[in-house]
């Protein structure tokens, strides 16, 4: 396990709880080899290597539509789906179309740091909305919406990662989702549902998606193969109402590029068509559930009283809160010197916040290192805490 390739910049003798990457040992190299050989060894090679349909590889569209209809009874047609070059591509198109040049966007606090960058690149006006262990706090959202409207602002988007959120690991409950939908109708904003961790549930049911609850009305839902197959392929999808999909098809980037990554889209279609994805996702759920249990047990075992953390039921991340008086910056300096890396909470807020928070990723690091990393962090935190007796 410890021989897995490390991302650039990771020293081999460190424990990196930073990266929200899939475990390298799970990457389905052999199945992708077979799929690639099938594509390049058949007449479809020339289609795969040429400019493609702007909506994306038809075979891959068919597969994803069938998968979502089978699993969630969404009643999608091919017209509801656009293949994108990873969730990044979808989010960038959405930010450009709905929020560029000062559009008001509501984001969770905390939220995914690189999504904040994408919105900032388009000069969106970002407003953080508090979350707790059940996701966005609906009453506070209502108060903030009223205040924004009072200021003359008209919120266009709410960007949410509703299921096994990055960075907090929390999931918005169904009743809160329903209330958020009511607010979206009242205030006329679009819900951008970044649901890339949805397939990685450890057990039990996942609440219906915003898309499912609304029937697709004013929801843009992003999915991705990055967490469930391989990020390096850069493939995902966007589902939306057909008239919305049509607007995205007119974007310069997607027209000029000839659709999202035609070559890898053909490979992915072949990989999925051969029935690989379902068994792979089943395996991933077991791997990440086990890793998460190791992390939660290590936290329970090692952390001093006063430290709290979320208990995710899927995904890649645990969100930890330090006792009052401690700052994540000091912890980061001390832990780096002992070879343990994590993502400080401060990067995940559109405004201030996160000074007492850490995102700990359990997806990328072998179980034995998780325990050791948490033990070292706990020891440092204990030393930073004021002596009570």
């Amino acid at each position: 396990m410890s021989t897995q390739k490390l991302p650039q910049g990771v020293l081999p003798d460190t424990i990196s709880l930073v990266f929200g990457h899939p475990d390298a040992t799970t990457l389905p190299v052999d199945e992708l080899r077979v799929a690639t050989e099938t594509v390049l060894g058949s007449p479809q090679a020339c289609t795969a290597l040429q400019y493609g349909s702007v909506q994306g590889s038809p075979a891959l569209i068919d597969y994803v539509v069938d998968k979502l209809n089978r699993e969630e009874s969404l009643g999608l047609t091919q017209d509801n789906l656009l293949i994108v070059a990873g969730s990044t591509h979808a989010l960038d198109m959405i930010a450009r179309q709905h929020a560029r040049c000062g559009g008001t966007v509501l984001v969770e606090a905390p939220t995914y740091h690189d999504a904040l960058r994408v919105f900032r690149d388009h000069d969106a006006d970002l407003h953080p909305m508090a979350i707790d262990e059940n996701g966005i706090i609906v009453d506070e959202l209502g108060v903030q919406l009223a205040a924004l409207v009072h200021e003359g602002k008209s919120p266009r988007l709410l960007y949410t990662i509703p299921t096994f959120q990055n960075p907090s690991g929390v999931t918005i409950t169904q009743s809160r989702r329903e209330k958020i939908i009511e607010l979206s109708r009242e205030y006329g904003f679009v819900i951008v549902e970044d649901d890339v961790y949805r397939d990685l549930a450890f057990e039990g049911d996942v609440p219906p998606s915003f898309y499912g609850l609304t029937g697709g009305d004013t929801v843009l839902r992003i999915g991705s193969f990055s967490k469930i197959v391989a990020p390096g392929l850069r493939l995902g999808w966007l589902i939306a109402a057909p008239e919305q999909i049509k607007q995205y098809l007119e974007c310069g980037t997607i027209q000029m590029g000839g659709g999202a990554n035609p070559f890898v889209a053909h490979i992915m279609a072949e990989y999925c068509r051969s029935g690989n994805l379902e068994s792979h996702v089943t395996r991933l759920r077991q791997v990440y559930c086990s890793r998460c249990n190791v992390m939660l047990a290590a936290l329970e075992r090692h952390m001093p009283r006063g430290v709290t953390w979320t208990r995710p039921r899927g995904g890649f991340f645990v969100w930890l809160t330090l006792p009052i008086g401690l700052h994540v910056r000091s912890l980061g300096e001390a832990s780096r010197s002992q070879g343990v890396h994590f993502a400080p909470g401060t990067g995940f807020f559109a405004g201030s916040g996160g000074e007492r928070n850490l995102r700990l990723a359990f997806s990328f690091v072998p179980s034995n290192e998780i325990d050791r990393g948490v033990r070292i962090l706990a020891q440092i935190i204990r030393e930073m805490m004021p002596q009570t007796d």
Copy 2:
């Protein structure tokens, strides 16, 4: 030749002079199979399938830097280059960074239609600059710049395809390039040099690039593997001053995606490292030179007097001008009914223009069909022309 796969929407019994696609029979399927097998059959598979370095695959950066230094003595280092997901990706980043929300951008008239879309998606304020058979007309550019400044506008970018331009096929002469650089220094705008056809010269020397003439000062140069290997791989590069490259590395899209298409970048690096690219480009030059000659000979043979066209020395396109009094719309309607398709000139202008122009792509259609297509077009034009005696 006639069995090559057609892009979506092309009927098999039509002659499509529309598509600026590489000839499907030239796509290096076997060499890419070998390169892919090397990547997926080695330990680098896990790196290729994971999130990558934001600047792009180091092996591919090294290859492109060496190629450009070898061929053009540019003196580039790795810090001058960013791997991008095709020229689209580079142009979108440039438009967002320099021209979003109303930034003034100068474009050639005509210019690449999908580049216009990219700029429009960012609300850039586009101003067309006339070209002739030697590229941008420098005196007119100077007059227009003075007028823009007089209006209080501050041009930020000049977007040019200086070599074997899409759609016109023309190349800006070296002396004009030098004068444009003087104007860029005088008025403080950045030259965006989209040089994706540069490698496809039929014979003789190509003028030095804007990047080469300035030493990289205030020039952003875009290159791509789409025309010289395969568009479906979605890979290209951006070269610029290191401080400019650093700014692009901070973009949300490139951070969030983990660099441009890591998997295919590894494959491309392997393909190039094995020495495939040089011989492939040599072959492409012969193929497209021969196609272009067929088209020029067919135009000479069939077109009535009063019709004129450009004589490209590389690339994919010939630009045709109808006699005064004829409109490309009427020609398009008549030719479609006879199965011949082309791109009408009107799509290639930021303002008005192109009503008497056609872009004819010779890259994608077999030689025998080129002659037949041109013959049919000529016949229709002849019938549309007023009888002179």
